[in-house]
Amino acid sequence: MSASPQFFLEETSVQQEIRSLARKFAQKELAPLIEEDEHNAVFRAEKIAQLGELGLTGIPVPEQYGGAGLGYSEYICAIEELAKVSSSYAISVAVTGLPQVILDLFGTEAQKEKFIPPLASGQAIGAFSLSEAGSGSDAGALRTSASRSGDKYILSGTKLWTTQADSASTLIVMARTGEAGPRGVSAFLVEKGTPGLKMGKREKKMGCNISHTMEVLLDQVEVPEENLIGREGQGFRVAMTALDSGRITIAATAIGVASAALEVALQHSRTREQFGKPIGDFQGISFMLAQMGADLEAARLVVKKAAWLKDKGHPFSLEAAMAKLLATDTAMKVTTDAVQILGGSGYTQEFPAERYMREAKVLQIVEGTNQIQRLVIGRALIGNTEKKTS
């Protein structure tokens, strides 16, 4: 990479301030609710509004649209701190960020002015709808149709796995306007309350229950042409750009949840005594903790580097994929080991370790499964081969 030598490991005062702001909010406003709300799958939109008041819901978008005008290096600090308490709210902030980032890059001036400020201030919630029953990793195969009718598009189809679509005011929906494959896909802004836009089933999941995962039904939904993002056929590029950035935020979520799991495991290892001494004195435990700490530190730096590359305007897709792969695999391992170190207690819901473990698993799946990340990384590293095989 053409990384310049100014990649600082030390956090700036702004980054530290954002971290501290998000940490205090998470501990005061979220921590007391999380266990109960995760159990009952209750999402509280007012928490996003509160985060908005603190300036944490539009960190990477320009100030003129109500954002903080900062970068991903700052954004990941907030997300990581939120994820230490709740992966669900970290994901909610990340997903509300997606439409903002997309519009900032591809939107018209009118779209930016209309849609970004409510999202950046946390007054509105955003969603991003790409996957379908038959197109997950193979996003370019999506079938939801958008046909032109006068100065409108008519969208029809069924979307799957859309995070917080039920509370979102602004959804970005990918639909087909042209030929089969990625080149026939366009991106649209669909507003809450548009006739024909309905919520299907809410998925019952293993974890991250506060963050609702929705099926979205589009039954002849009329979308004005000014809600097309970019040009017709540009949708796949919009989606991939969004996913590249999204991967950094999911990686930051993974770092947060893994840090929290390591903290609980360390605490337990210092205080729990068996055979007359703290279990942290046994190598079986201390070496496990050592590995968790080392893996986490390595993953954290890759995430930081991906954010820094993006902020500097360098290509960052490869590093974003690496960050997502390493951070989420590390989170899975670290949270699983935390449950193990807490033993029976770790398996019960009296400690958060088992929740962290259930939350970590989804991070290996969303924003491109880790199989897709390997595909992206492999292709980027190997380059074009003579005979293209999958």
């Binding site: 193979d138 068996q274 819901q349 473990m357 259930r358 799946i365």
Partner: protein, 386 residues
């Protein structure tokens, strides 16, 4: 396995049938609401599963450890929770009474437990004595023709719903002064404490046993006073071999679901099973499952043939359980990954398999304590220095 007999195969078939009709239709709901499939235990009683390794003379089926492990694998392939409760009942309570109980105790408890009329459990772990089992603090003090028990047991499978418990308590000052008592639910001074909310194995109730000046008749003491450490350890070995069967069942089903999905799910115009990343996970899972299956049934067979004694037997059981438990968690995690978003939802059972699989790395001896057992056998005193 090559040494399965015709009897083993018939047993396997009947447990498979039982699991399909009695366990499968209810497990999703029971897992969600932390219920318990009480009816299944009456049915298991009818099928003779509750006394699977108890001699026929004592009213059991008179089968071997291989058979018990087979039952665990078959049941757990559908519903690991009920299987865990079955294990606590059959291996930790019923079998212990059959092996160590007096004629009178056997007559009193075995018929009710083997028919499914009563549910049994065992009480060993305490809040401060988990891996350090001999550090238990629950005390039993002799007073005339009674023992008075005080203390709290925790992580007790079937605690909230059991009728009778095989309970270990200290009857002296040294670490090995441990005795066993049969405690019945209705006894004065006994209560079942809290029930734990858990990540997995949610249809297998786990709770505390609380003793507050609980007077237990001396006739309820199993064996002589202070003689229980050896039988406790011996039972841990058969517990570990059979619980490894639960890991095998979970892994097998995870592999089946993931394989089927890999054949049917199409992305980029072809079945995802055609991609080498998916093949790698499936093939590794299948190979490790097979290896753990051999290890576990081999340990069971050696147990049955009496080929292992004492520490050697403990080491084999520890190896089988350590490997199988870790394998099952990994395989279930990989199955979720292969199913992607679907694997994370409750529309497929693999997320439950993963939550259930994790428990086996903790219960019946954590991975860490099993490594200690293996290391002690390999390294002798050198291993004690850590």
């Amino acid at each position: 396995m090559w040494f399965f007999t015709e009897e083993h195969r018939m047993l396997q078939e009947s447990v498979r049938q039982f699991s399909r009709t009695e366990l499968k239709p209810r497990i999703e709901e029971l897992d969600h609401h932390e219920g318990f499939n009480r009816e299944a235990f009456y049915k298991m009683g009818e099928l003779g599963l509750l006394g699977v390794i108890v001699p026929e003379a004592d009213g059991g089926a008179g089968l071997d450890a291989v058979a018990a492990t087979l039952v665990m694998e078959e049941m757990a392939a559908v519903d690991a929770s009920t299987t865990l409760s079955y294990l606590a009942h059959t291996i930790l309570c019923v079998n212990q009474i059959a092996v160590n109980g007096s004629a009178e105790q056997k007559q009193k408890y075995l018929p009710k437990l083997i028919s499914g009329e009563w549910i049994g459990g065992m009480g060993m772990s305490e809040p401060e004595a988990g891996s350090d089992a001999l550090g238990m603090k629950t005390k039993a003090v002799r007073e005339g023709d009674h023992y008075v028990l005080n203390g709290t047991k925790t992580w007790i499978t079937n605690g909230p719903n059991g009728d009778v418990f095989y309970v270990y308590a200290k009857t002296g000052e040294t670490k090995r002064d441990i005795s066993t008592f049969m405690v019945e639910r209705e006894m004065k001074g006994f209560s079942t404490g809290k029930k734990f909310a858990k990540m997995g194995m949610r249809a297998s109730p786990t709770g505390e046993l609380v003793f507050e000046n609980c007077a237990v008749p001396a006739s309820h003491r199993v064996g002589t006073e202070g003689s229980s450490v050896k039988m406790m350890m011996r039972n841990l070995d058969i517990e570990r071999i059979t619980i490894a069967g639960i890991s095998l069942g979970i892994a097998r089903s995870s592999i089946e679901v993931a394989t089927q999905y890999a054949k049917e799910r199409k992305q980029f115009g072809k079945a995802i099973g055609s991609f080498q990343q998916i093949q790698e996970r499936l093939t590794e899972a299948a190979a490790w499952y097979e290896a753990c299956r051999c290890l576990t049934y081999d340990a069971a067979k050696m147990w049955d043939m009496g080929l292992m004694q004492g520490k050697e037997a403990s080491m084999m059981a520890a190896k089988a359980k350590l490997q199988s438990a870790q394998m099952a968690t990994q395989v279930a995690l990989d199955a979720i990954q292969i199913l992607g978003g679907y694997g994370y939802t409750r529309e497929f059972p693999v997320e439950r398999f993963m939550r259930d699989a994790k428990l086996i790395e903790i219960g019946a001896g954590t991975n860490e304590i099993l490594r200690v057992i293996i290391a002690r056998q390999m390294l002798g005193d050198v291993a004690e220095l850590g």
